[in-house]
Subunit: 383 residues, 2 copies
C-alpha cells in the first residue's frame, strides 16, 4: 500500500466556544488543501469522522453537511466508531483511494463538545460502552481505572508511572501551539490532582475538547510543493473486540490493538523497532502504557519504566505523542484519529517545529474506540 | 466493476416491539450467510448502516457492537448519511472489496424506531435536515410537501397521481410477506386519508419502522449454491447536494440523484432503458414520481401518467418497488438502502416469489438521504 498524504492540518484544540463546527472544518480543510497543491475541484469524496453531532448537536448526515459547507457536491459519508471515528474515516479514505473509485479525497475529523454540560457529554460518550456498562453506571474514567488496577497488580505499575506519561505529554504539548494545554506540569501536580476514578486523577485524564483535522489523500500523486519529502500511508488496519470489559480475557492489554498492529507491521513490511515516532490513544495515562506494550515498543510490563526514564520523550526513541496526545493536545473525539495522521505527517515532512523528531522516517498512529472495542492502526513513511 | 453479491436477506419490517436490534441483525445476517455458502470466518469486515441508534438508543460504535454480537472480531465501522445510511454502507462495502483490502465482507443495515414516541423520532430524523429547516420547525413531510407543490405547479401533477404510487406500492407489498403493510389499498383510501402536510396525506407517507437487512459481498467469488444465477454490483455512485431545500435551484428534481444516476449508468455501461426492475426511495409518493424522472425512466413531467397507467406495476417495465418500497414495505432508516439491494438481488436471482419480475436481468437501487442531500445509486446485473 502506498497512499500519498498531500496535505494535513488541524485547528487549535481546546474550549472553542466562539467557533462553530463549520468554521473549524473550513479552517482545517483550507490549510490541508493549500499544502496539497490540489484545487477544490480535484476532491472527489469526503469522509467525515464524528461521534456525537447527532446526540449533542441534533445534526446528522455530516458527509453532505460538510460537502455543502465546502461547496463540493461530491460523494460524502460520515463514519462513526466512538473515539476511533477519525481513524476509521482515514481507513475509509484509504479504501476509497485503493479501490481506484476515487483519485483524491478529503478526510475530515471534527467534534464540538465543550458547548454542552459535562454530564451530558459523559453520558453521550457512554454510547461507546456496552449496555451492561451503561446500566451499571460506569463511565470511561471508571473503566480505564479498572484497567489501571489490573496493570498495577500484574506488573507493579505505579501511580507515579502513570503520572510520568502526563508529564511527558504536557511537555510535548508545551511545544505545540495547537494544543489545548500548553503548560508543562510536574509529577507532584499530577499525583496531587483530584481523584476522578482511583487510581486515575484529574491530570491522568484527557480533556473534553473542540477541534477539527483534515488530510488530503491521493493515489501515487506527487505533492506540488517546495518541501520534497513525500509522505505515504503504507498500512491501514482495523480490528474489533468486545465493547464491555467483562467479556475480555485480560484487562492489561487491548487485544484489538495487538491484532491490528501485527497486521499493520506485516502490511508495511516493518517491525516495531522501525518506528521513529508514534501518536497513540492516551485517553488516560494508563492507556499509553498499555499501548506501548500492545504496539511491541516494549515488553509486557516494561513500558512504564521506559517512559519514566524518558525513552519516549523528545530526544528518545520511539518518541510518543509529540502533539501532546489526547492527554494534553486535547481529545475532540471524531478529530483525534485524523489529528494523529496530521502530526505524523508533519514529523515525517520535517515541519513539526519545536517538537520535531530529528530524522523521523517512519511513524505510526494508534486510535482506539471505547475501552478497546475498536482499534485502528496506520503506518506512514517518507521517501 | 464486478462485485459478487453472495447472499442477501432482510427481516420482516414493521412494528417489532418484541425484537431487539441485536436479534434483527442476527436474523438477517444468518440468512444472508446461509445463502452465500460462506462460513462466518470468511467475513473480513462489517459495514453497518444506521442513523439513529445514538440519539434514540444511546448506543454508538455499532461496527464493534455487531462484530461482537456476530462473534466476528474483524474490521468494522458504522456509516451514517441519514436515510441513505444503508446505501452508503453498501458503497463502503463496495470500496472495501474493490480496494482488495478485503475479499469478503458483510453489509448490515438496521434501525429500531417504533419503541420511541413519534415526536421523538420526528425530531431525531430532522437531524438530516439543515439547521435553518430545524429552527423553522420543518419536518420531512413538510419539506416533501413543498416539493410536491412545486411539481404540481410545474407539471400539473395531481394528488391522484401521487395516490397511484401508494396504491401500486401497497399492491406490491401485498405480495411480500416481509412488508410492514400487506393489505392492498385503493385510490379512494389514499385520497381520503388524513392530511399530514398538504398535499401529502397519511397514505402518501412511508411509515416509522423497525427492521434489518444484510448482504454478503465478495470479489469475483462464485456462490456455492444450486441456483446458478450469479448477481453482481456493476456500479456504485454517491453524490451530494445542499441539506436545505432553500439552497436548491429546482424543487421538482433531486439533483444529487440525477448526477449519481448518470455516472452509474456510465460505470455499468448501460442506459436507463436497460433497467428491468428498480427499488427507489419513495419516502413520500411524490418522491417516487421525481425519482422516475431523475433516473431517466420517463421524461420530466411524464412519470405521473406512466405510473397511473401501470407501466411501473408488476407486469410493466421497468417495475418499481416490487418490495412495496419505503411506502409499504416500511422504512427502518438505516436498513432501507441495504434492503433495496436485497430486493434487487432476489429479483435477479429469480427468487422473489409472487412479486418476481419475469426475466429480470438488470436492476437499480436509488437511496436518498434527507430531502435530497445525499443520493446513492447501485446497479446490479446477473450473468
Amino acid at each position: 500500500m502506498k497512499i500519498a498524504v498531500l496535505g494535513a492540518a488541524t485547528t487549535k484544540f481546546g474550549e472553542l466556544w466562539h467557533i462553530s463546527p463549520r468554521d473549524l472544518v473550513k479552517e482545517a480543510v483550507s490549510e490541508a488543501l493549500d499544502q496539497s497543491g490540489c484545487s477544490r475541484s480535484q476532491i472527489e469524496a469526503i469522509f467525515v469522522g464524528n461521534m456525537l453531532s447527532g446526540v449533542l448537536g441534533g445534526q446528522e448526515n455530516l458527509g453532505a453537511f460538510f460537502a455543502e459547507e465546502l461547496n463540493l457536491p461530491v460523494s460524502a459519508m460520515k463514519v462513526e466508531g466512538a473515539c476511533a471515528s477519525g481513524g476509521l474515516a482515514v481507513h475509509a479514505g484509504v479504501m476509497a483511494i485503493t479501490s481506484s473509485l476515487y483519485q483524491t479525497i478529503l478526510v475530515v475529523g471534527v467534534e464540538k463538545m465543550t458547548d454542552h454540560k459535562p454530564e451530558e457529554v459523559a453520558k453521550s460518550l457512554m454510547g461507546a460502552g456496552s449496555d451492561v456498562e451503561r446500566q451499571a453506571g460506569a463511565t470511561f474514567p471508571g473503566l480505564y481505572a479498572l484497567m489501571a488496577r489490573a496493570h498495577m497488580k500484574k506488573y507493579g505499575t505505579t501511580e507515579k508511572d502513570m503520572a510520568s506519561v502526563a508529564v511527558k505529554n504536557h511537555y510535548h504539548a508545551s511545544l505545540n501551539s495547537h494544543a489545548q494545554f500548553t503548560r508543562p506540569i510536574t509529577l507532584e501536580q499530577v499525583l496531587t490532582s483530584s481523584i476522578v476514578a482511583s487510581p486515575l486523577k484529574l491530570l491522568d485524564c484527557s480533556p473534553i475538547s473542540d477541534g477539527a483535522a483534515a488530510v488530503v489523500l491521493s493515489k501515487n500523486k506527487k505533492q506540488k510543493t517546495k518541501n520534497k519529502k513525500q509522505v505515504y500511508i503504507t498500512a491501514s488496519v482495523v480490528a474489533t473486540d468486545s465493547l464491555g470489559l467483562a467479556e475480555r480475557q485480560d484487562l492489561t492489554t487491548i487485544d484489538a490493538a495487538v491484532r491490528a498492529a501485527k497486521k499493520a507491521y506485516k502490511m508495511a513490511g516493518i517491525t516495531p523497532g522501525d518506528i521513529d515516532v508514534a501518536e497513540v490513544h492516551d485517553c488516560f495515562t494508563i492507556a499509553e502504557i498499555i499501548a506501548m506494550e500492545d504496539l511491541g515498543f516494549f515488553k509486557k510490563g516494561k513500558a512504564a519504566a521506559s517512559i519514566r526514564e524518558g525513552k519516549t520523550t523528545l530526544g528518545g526513541r520511539p518518541v510518543i505523542n509529540t502533539s501532546g496526545g489526547l492527554k494534553a493536545c486535547g481529545h475532540p473525539v471524531g478529530a483525534t484519529g485524523v489529528k494523529q495522521i496530521v502530526e505524523i505527517y508533519k514529523q515525517l515532512k520535517g515541519t513539526a517545529g519545536k517538537k520535531q523528531v530529528k530524522g523521523a522516517k517512519i511513524g505510526l498512529t494508534h486510535n482506539v474506540g471505547g475501552s478497546g472495542a475498536t482499534a485502528v492502526i496506520h503506518i506512514l513513511r517518507r521517501d
